[in-house]
């Protein structure tokens, strides 16, 4: 197979092809769209730097997806810590972003909140499966886990979602 290489001067191509879908992928996991954009921009920078400016076109989508998910995971972990500390204060902690609160119906909000409350691997597997429709092998490559683990996380994630949204009804 011939491997084409993308240099930083082909950043525009990578950007055109992947940027929007990556921001949208991040938005499944993270409320604030501006933060999603930051995460994706940082993923582009990280991937380009790590690869010395050369990115294998075939590998680029998985690298970028993986960097975005790592960034989202790190962001959510910090947010959790922040929330924990802000709970001590008299003022309310983070509220859902205005876009989520005003633009989406109750069911969308309920499902997204339930998805985001799942353990990291489960929510990432479900996001990759139901947003990007990736096959198990590609989800496994993106997350650096086995295809069997993908199945397990998806199964457990869906079961947990069913329980959580069932309880809310």
């Amino acid at each position: 197979m011939m491997v084409t290489m993308a240099a930083t001067n082909d950043l525009e191509g990578l950007y055109r092809e992947h940027y929007r879908s990556l921001v949208r992928l991040a938005s499944v996991l993270v409320d604030d769209v501006a933060t999603c954009e930051e995460l994706v921009q940082d993923a582009f920078v990280a991937v380009l730097r790590r690869s010395g400016g050369w990115v294998d076109d075939d590998a680029a989508p998985a690298y970028l997806r993986s960097a975005v998910l790592n960034g989202a995971r790190s962001h959510l972990r910090k947010q959790q810590v922040r929330r924990r500390w802000l709970q001590r204060a008299t003022l309310p902690a983070d509220q859902p972003g205005a876009d989520v609160a005003t633009m989406h119906g109750d069911d969308t909000r309920t499902m997204l909140a339930a998805l985001r409350s799942l353990p990291a691997r489960q929510r990432e597997v479900l996001a990759l499966r139901y947003y990007l429709d990736l096959p198990e092998a590609e989800i496994a490559a993106t997350l650096g886990i086995s295809a069997g683990s993908v199945k397990t996380h998806a199964h457990r994630g869906l079961a947990a979602l069913a329980r959580r949204v069932g309880e809310d009804r």
Binding site: V28, Q41, G52, V81, W85, L86, M111, Y130, L158, A162
Partner: protein, 328 residues
Amino acid sequence: MNVEDVEDRLRRAIEARTSSVEPSPDALGRINEKLSDQGDPMDLSSTRTRWILGVAAAIVLVAALLAGLMLPGGDDRTEIGDTADRRTTTTEDSTTTTEPSGDRTTTTEASGAPGTSSTTTPASSTTTTQPAGPSETDQSQIVWPRPSSDVRFDTPEAAARSFARYYARFRDPVVGAFRPGDSRSGEVPVHAFAGGPETTVLVRQLAGDSWFVIGAQAEHIELTSPTPGPDFSLGCPQHVAGTALAFEGTVQVRIDAYQPDGSRVELGSGFVTGSGSPPAGPYEGNISCRLTRSGENVEPTGILTLWEPSAEDGSTLAITAIPLPLVM
């Protein structure tokens, strides 16, 4: 509810969410800016870049040698939080957010009782010194500036920068843009130096409109115990646990109290060991410490600090800090 229904609802929710998200038009420009800020990876091996790096290194070396000759003798190393011992206060231009170069921060040293320290404020600065202190409840949340000091910050970035410089003792702090959480709080990303690991500094407006640091979270030092709660206060030995990734896994721990005049009182110190290679590994330990004595003149809330020292020069690479109520 069966799994098929959940799948269907999840698909529709994701579709509704993602279809409403449109990237900003300047995103490609922002990526290019970030690449330029961190150096173009394609240029790292160029002769020109090597020349620039070589010359810069030589300048830094000469400057360091000159500074060493000009400074008075003795060990001038400072530790985390020591600056407050001398009542150093900081003021800065609220528009300065990212670059350490061109930073207009000034420091002044003052002596005397609380409330008498003076602060020199540049004409362009919006930072003010206010005599009004935070309430008792608010004080229990504050890490920096110390509640009994006069120093107040008008911007979250200024509070984060002061914490980075004068408490964390970051070598050459790079302060990022404020990320709001709610209307009165948020976080500021700070790096000990360009390219260093990130410390997320949590900030909140208390005592009127002033900004205070209420905690810090190092990228690779997570603290899961102690956790805040009604019975949350210093216990000796103080149990700490979490996950960490650091050089040889070593994370330093210290428990500080502050006297109203800004003097730091070390109540305990030690170290814990996480992981020396990715991913971050669990750590757990009991830090030897002493409780504050009845009548001891310290603020009711201290600071529990965990940090990774640089293997090169001992400076702080990243820091996790929380307010720690002290048993009186």
